[in-house]
Every structure is written in structure tokens, then in C-alpha cells.
């Protein structure tokens, strides 16, 4: 199995020490060996379930939350906004 722990950690925004990386690499190898026990079958074609149609929501406005209760759980707040470290604009 070729698993680039560093790259995956980066994608998942996780950080590991070199020791942890080794530990995870080993554990992941076992787990992947387990999950590779899938039957041989043709997995082409899209993943879609036409027998399970969705009920749409009507386009109506409902408002029942105040800004204060919505940002009450935020670690850092300023001027009614949630604060993060300066970002390079994208």
C-alpha cells in the first residue's frame, strides 16, 4: 500500500510528530488491508439512486435566530464577526 501520510495529514489539516507518523502509517496499513477485502465487481457508472427522489423545500423565508446566539460559541468575535488570523485573499 502506498499511503503518503504527510500529504493526507495536510489534506485533513492534521499535524503529526515523526513518531506519530510512523505509528499511524503502521496502523493505517492494517486497516487498509482489512478494507481491501471488497468483492470483485464492476464499479463503473455514476453513483445515483433514482428510486430515492427528494422533496424540495418551498422558497419561503423563516428567521428565528439572533446573531448573538449564533456567534455565542465562537472563540473570537469582533464587530459582530467571527475572527480568524489574517488570510491571503483567494
Amino acid at each position: 500500500m502506498d499511503m503518503d501520510i504527510k500529504r493526507l495529514a495536510k489534506l485533513a489539516r492534521l499535524k503529526f510528530t515523526p513518531e506519530e507518523e510512523e505509528k499511524y502509517a503502521a496502523q493505517m496499513a492494517n486497516i487498509v488491508a482489512m478494507v481491501e477485502k471488497l468483492p470483485d465487481l464492476d464499479a463503473s457508472g455514476p453513483l445515483i439512486d433514482p428510486d430515492n427522489p427528494m422533496e424540495f423545500r418551498k422558497d419561503e423565508v423563516q428567521r428565528n435566530y439572533s446573531r448573538n446566539e449564533l456567534i455565542a460559541n465562537a472563540p473570537e468575535v469582533q464587530a459582530g464577526c467571527i475572527v480568524v488570523p489574517k488570510t491571503v485573499a483567494e
Binding site: 423565508v61 423563516q62 456567534i71
Partner: protein
């Protein structure tokens, strides 16, 4: 710009905000410019355990656009998660559509210097907008406003069929006119209702396409033009200096009027798309689809061409009429109401009517002149029953009262006199009183004729038919 013999290839990804009442996946108000974080709920703020529910209008609007752009509609489609971390994306994934968009394989005919050109439309899909980051230099951090999270978007992806910034501009203008005609978006640039990502490549004719570079963050159409020209010039320069173009994403900076590298192919994002398990399948039945199809009006790009070809209205006027749904509708009512030359009707709508709109800010409906009355006025002018100056007087009166032009003409006695005996008397009188002018004319001062005609008009209180009186004067002068 000097393309040094290179051909420029442009493809556009247009993001257009839909003007639904509520957001795409929750019932928050879809409104621009509200107080920060005042249009949010636990769902659009991505709080734990919350689930999306899809707004029916969003699906319908996207399908309408699909029909407008001649797409085939997928009656069974799904939504997918696009995973990436950014503070303006509270769930850390954007709900979008990956392999089965609502609409595919369409096209759009644009008008570039009088010629129609067909631009392929690859796909149209629905997705949610992200929040806004507020960068304030007076403050060490970045502020996040989630109001825009969950504002419904359609993304319209074009084929690389555009060959210049001008064509791109025409394409964008046409898309904008269409969404406004369909009433699915207010198309307000300044509010960011329409934004685009631009793919640009250059190559020598006959050679295969060059490597394409994607430009993000283009928020105005004029910006799009400049961005394309800048990027094309940049690529041409690189190639001319023996360099190569690498597949990368660049960010357009509209203020600095240039772009810079955002990420190269190597660190391209891995979005790990997979079907959104919180939303079941989008299934659209025949009936709904045909209703939506039937609701599509004649589109502006087609209307301009029809006005030009069938009504021989000049392109510029045609565009001006079509720009406004109300003006073009009024124009068509007028020409339907009487046997008149379309160009004359167009002139009144773009002239007198538009003037009143600009002066009073009223809509045509508020101005309240029935199309039939306009037609009647234009007819009288075409038949020379009244002079053009009288025509203006009648129009002014029509603005004040709802009387028919014919009645106004009667009341004010504005009808043009063409009775020869009456006119002859006037002409003889004027001739007798202006021997000097007659001598001048005979002496070669032909402009004396104009003076004499003027005198006749005066004497007839503006009602005499100037053409007839002119003929009568000439008889005397030449006699």
C-alpha cells in the same frame, strides 16, 4: 492589442447569484447588503448536526437557464461535496454538482460586430456561495461575515470557443441580459451577482491549443476584458522569449490591473468530491420540465437580431430597445397597433419616451400613453397630416391628458392646411409684401426662398403645408 500572430483561446466559468427569496439550503433571507451575520442560521453557519434542504426555486431557475442556453436537462441529477478548508466555508465543504449537472451540452449565440457567433456551453450546475472575508488593515485578524453563505449560485461553464476579450465581453453581456430577462437574477455587477473565472491560452494558428491558465476573482466585465488582454499578452511574451506556459491558477487584481500566481499545477487542490449523503436525488418530472420550458420568453440576443433583420432597425437602436424589457415590449405594441414604419416607432421610444423616462424616472406604464395612441400620432406624422413641430405639441399634450392624438389635433386645430386656394391666397399676399426678396432671389440669392417660405408658414400660423407653398412661390419667382 498586438497578438503577434497568436490566436487567443478563452473559456469562461460564470457564477451567477439567483434572486430567490430564501437561500439554497436553508430558509434564511437571500439579501445583499444586510448587517453582518444577520442573515444566518445554524444550517448556513455549518453548525454540528444541521442538514441542508434544497430550495425548489433554485432547481427551477437553473433549468430555465438551461433551456435559455439550449442545454439538455438531466431529469435525474445529484449534488456532491467539494471538500476544502477556508474560513468563508463553514462546513469545510461546498455543496455543488460534480459528475451529473442539471444542464449540459448547450450553446449561446452572441453578436460580435454585427455577426452572430455560436459559443458552446458545457454545463450549468447549482451550488452554494461562500461567506465574505473582511480584510481591515486597522485590525490584526480577518473578519468573517456568513450572510452570503448559502446564497444560491448557478455556474455556467463555456467551451473554449471565445477568441478575444471582445467576444468574452459580448458573451458576458448576453448572459447578463438573459438572466435579467428570465428574472432569475438581478445581474448587479457591483453587488457581485455575476462573477467569473477565466481560462486563457494562446497558440499559433494551425498549431494545437496552448497550455491554459486559470484566472480567479474577476468581478467586473471591464475587469474580464483587461484580465484576458493582460494574461494573453503575458503568455505571448513568455513564448516569444522562448519560455513555456505552465498550467497554473492566477489571481486577478483589478486595482493593480495585473494577475499573480495563486497555485501551480503541483499543489493543485484535491477536492475529494463525493455524493452529498445528506440530500437525496433530484428528480424532475416531464410536466415540470415542459412548464419551465414553456416559460422561457424570446431572449434578448435573438430579439436584437430579429429587430435588425425583420424590422430593419439599426443594431445600436435595436440593442437600446432590447436592453429594457419594457421599452422593447412597448415598441412591439406600437408597431402592432398601426400601419407604421418600425424605425419611426423606435425613434419615438428611444426619443420622446426615453427622454420622459430619464426626466421623470417614471416607467412607461406610469407615463401611461397607450401604444395605440403612439401609433396614431406616428401615423399622422407619416401621412403629413400634421407637421413635426405639431407632432411634438401633440405628444406633450398626450403626456398630460389621455386624449387620443386625433382629438388633440382637432381641438388645437393643428391639422396641416393643404387646400390650394387658401394657400395660394397666403402666398400671393406674402409675395406682394416682399418684392425685395423676390428681386434678391432673381438676383441669385436663392436662400431668399427659405425666407419667403418662412413668411408663408408664419402667415398660415404654422398650419400651411410648407412643401405646397414652396412650389407656389417657385412658380412666381421663376415666372
Amino acid at each position: 492589442m498586438d497578438t503577434k500572430g497568436y490566436e487567443i483561446i478563452v473559456g469562461l466559468e460564470v457564477h451567477c447569484e439567483l434572486n430567490t427569496k430564501s437561500k439554497i439550503y436553508c430558509s434564511c433571507r437571500n439579501a445583499f447588503g444586510a448587517e453582518v451575520n444577520s442573515q444566518c442560521c445554524p444550517i448556513c453557519m455549518g453548525m454540528p448536526g444541521t442538514l441542508p434542504t434544497l430550495n425548489e426555486k433554485v432547481v427551477h431557475y437553473a433549468v430555465k437557464m438551461g433551456y435559455a442556453l439550449n442545454c439538455s436537462i438531466n431529469p435525474i441529477s445529484k449534488q456532491d461535496r467539494k471538500n476544502y478548508f477556508y474560513p468563508d466555508l463553514p462546513k469545510a465543504y461546498q455543496i455543488s454538482q460534480f459528475d451529473i449537472p442539471l444542464c449540459e451540452n448547450g450553446y449561446l449565440d452572441i453578436l460580435v460586430d454585427g455577426q452572430e457567433k455560436r459559443i458552446g456551453v458545457t454545463r450549468i450546475h447549482i451550488e452554494e456561495d461562500a461567506g465574505k472575508l473582511i480584510h481591515d488593515d486597522s485590525f490584526s485578524g480577518t473578519l468573517v461575515d456568513f450572510n452570503r453563505c448559502g446564497v444560491p449560485l448557478i455556474e455556467i461553464v463555456s467551451e473554449p470557443d471565445l477568441r478575444s476579450s471582445a467576444e468574452a465581453k459580448a458573451y458576458l453581456d448576453t448572459i447578463r441580459e438573459i438572466v435579467i430577462y428570465l428574472g432569475i437574477s438581478d445581474g448587479k455587477m457591483q453587488e457581485g451577482s455575476i462573477r467569473c473565472d477565466i481560462n486563457v491560452s494562446v497558440h499559433k494558428p494551425g498549431e494545437p491549443f496552448g497550455t491554459r491558465v486559470e484566472m480567479k476573482n474577476v468581478n467586473t466585465f471591464s475587469g474580464a476584458v483587461r484580465a484576458i488582454e493582460y494574461e494573453a499578452a503575458r503568455q505571448i511574451e513568455v513564448l516569444e522569449n522562448g519560455g513555456t506556459i505552465s498550467q497554473e491558477t492566477r489571481r486577478w487584481d483589478d486595482l493593480k490591473n495585473c494577475n499573480f500566481l495563486l497555485r501551480s499545477k503541483e499543489d493543485a487542490q484535491d477536492y475529494r468530491y463525493f455524493p452529498e449523503p445528506d440530500l437525496s436525488t433530484i428528480v424532475l418530472d416531464e410536466e415540470t420540465l415542459s412548464e419551465l420550458k414553456a416559460s422561457i420568453p424570446e431572449l434578448p440576443n435573438k430579439k436584437v437580431v430579429r429587430y435588425m433583420k425583420e424590422l430593419s432597425i439599426p443594431e445600436e437602436d435595436a440593442r437600446l430597445l432590447v436592453e429594457s424589457i419594457e421599452k422593447s415590449a412597448y415598441f412591439e405594441e406600437i408597431i402592432a397597433a398601426g400601419k407604421i414604419v418600425p424605425k419611426d416607432a423606435s425613434n419615438w421610444v428611444l426619443g420622446g419616451i426615453s427622454r420622459v423616462i430619464n426626466e421623470t424616472g417614471k416607467s412607461i406604464k406610469e407615463i401611461g400613453i397607450p401604444a395605440a395612441h403612439m401609433a396614431q400620432l406616428i401615423e399622422m406624422l407619416e401621412k403629413k397630416e400634421i407637421s413635426s413641430s405639431a407632432g411634438n405639441t401633440v405628444f406633450e399634450e398626450m403626456l398630460k391628458s389621455d386624449k387620443a392624438p386625433k382629438d388633440i389635433v382637432k381641438e388645437k386645430g393643428l391639422a396641416q392646411v393643404s387646400d390650394n386656394s387658401v394657400l395660394q391666397a397666403i402666398v400671393d399676399e406674402v409675395a406682394a409684401a416682399n418684392q425685395k426678396s423676390i428681386d434678391d432671389y432673381r438676383g441669385g440669392k436663392t436662400n431668399a426662398l427659405g425666407f419667403l417660405v418662412g413668411q408663408c408658414m408664419k402667415a398660415s400660423k404654422g398650419k400651411g403645408n410648407p412643401a405646397i407653398m414652396r412650389e407656389m412661390l417657385l412658380k412666381i419667382l421663376e415666372g
